[in-house]
């Protein structure tokens, strides 16, 4: 249904929507969190079963939710930090291009302050 990509344009990744709405392919950190959550669920559930020989589905589901949430917040925090760093770098590069050779050159300001 989507328009075909123009030649040279990167092809949009086919979206896989869990429960019909969570697009794990195109949402940053979603795929990573769900995969680790699934692994955590299997480890927790199976481990609980090995130790107790009792029904472990509840532990598995709980493990999935907790591990997914934990990975999600950790990944999103790092992603947000990375975005901020990218934004700062972009601004600095723009400033450098704009003001290179003038008295507003950020490199000159930085060198001046470090030599002081």
């Amino acid at each position: 249904m989507a328009a075909p990509p123009e030649p040279g344009e990167p092809e949009e990744r086919k979206s896989l929507k869990l429960l019909g709405f969570l697009d794990v392919e195109n949402t940053p950190c979603a795929r990573h969190s769900i995969l680790y959550g699934s692994l955590g669920s299997v480890v927790a559930g199976f481990g609980h079963f090995l130790f107790t020989s009792e029904r472990s589905c509840d532990v598995g589901v709980g493990g999935f939710i907790l591990v997914t949430l934990g990975c999600w917040f950790h990944c999103r925090y790092n992603y947000a930090k990375q975005r901020i760093q990218e934004r700062i770098a972009r601004e600095e590069i723009k400033k450098k291009i704009l003001y290179e050779g003038t008295h507003l050159d950020p490199e000159r300001k930085h060198n001046g302050s470090s030599s002081n």
Partner: protein
């Protein structure tokens, strides 16, 4: 612009929209996990062989399912409020544009540096050129500079309208007798589309908004400054 059958948000063209997309992803993950838990509980309810007709109370479970949703709501509310206050930040706009809703077209006024006023009507299908978008393209686009804070003052001359551009994360009601303000800073050039978002009569779906965002250097050469 949106592609056919698009359900998700459009790519961001302003920092606020980037934040909104991040918030949307965050909330969607929480919703997904809640849905997963509820589906699991439903599955257990439907497949269990256990029955107990003498249950009178379950204090611990009731405490958990009261406290936990409250925590979840706080986890959702805090980023939401952060973005809400971010949208209200005063950032010394470089340009102020007035947008006036009519039945069924928009009027734009660039009065900061002169007196440029024009109407923006949807292009009727018979007047479309090859490559134009049906029901979206207009005769006169709103031309604005990128990377400059812009203030939009929005009102209406007749009935309620709403000036919305999804890619910028903007939607502001146009109310007759009231002036609403919204500010934005576009981060990349291009042509961006929006549509009237408040029912306003027969042609409510046929009064689109088109922004043409261009570099400041080129904007300064345009009619806003040379009229």
């Amino acid at each position: 612009m949106a592609h056919a059958a698009q359900v998700g948000l459009q790519d961001a063209t302003s920092p606020i929209m980037e934040e909104l997309i991040t918030f949307h992803d965050h909330t969607l993950m929480i919703i997904f996990l809640i849905c997963f838990l509820v589906l699991y509980a439903l599955f257990l309810t439907l497949t269990t062989k256990l029955t107990n007709t003498n249950i009178s109370d379950a204090q611990e479970m009731e405490t958990v399912w009261t406290i936990l949703p409250a925590i979840i709501l706080v986890l959702i509310a805090l980023p939401s409020l952060r973005i809400l206050y971010m949208t209200d930040e005063v950032n010394d706009p470089s340009l102020t544009i007035k947008s006036i809703g009519h039945q069924w077209y928009w009027t734009y006024e660039y009065t900061d540096y002169g007196g440029l006023i024009f109407n923006s009507y949807m292009l009727p299908p018979l007047f479309l050129e090859p490559g134009d978008l049906r029901l979206l393209d207009v005769d006169n686009r709103v031309v604005l500079p990128i990377e400059a804070p812009i203030r939009m003052m929005i009102t209406s001359q007749d009935v309620l309208h709403s000036w919305a551009v999804p890619t910028l994360g903007l939607k502001t009601d146009a109310i007759p007798g009231r002036l609403n303000q919204t500010t934005f800073t576009a981060t990349r050039p291009g042509v961006y589309y929006g549509q009237c978002s408040e029912i306003c009569g027969a042609n409510h779906s046929f009064m689109p908004i088109v922004l043409e965002l261009i570099p400041l250097k080129i904007f300064e050469m345009g009619p806003v400054f040379t009229l």
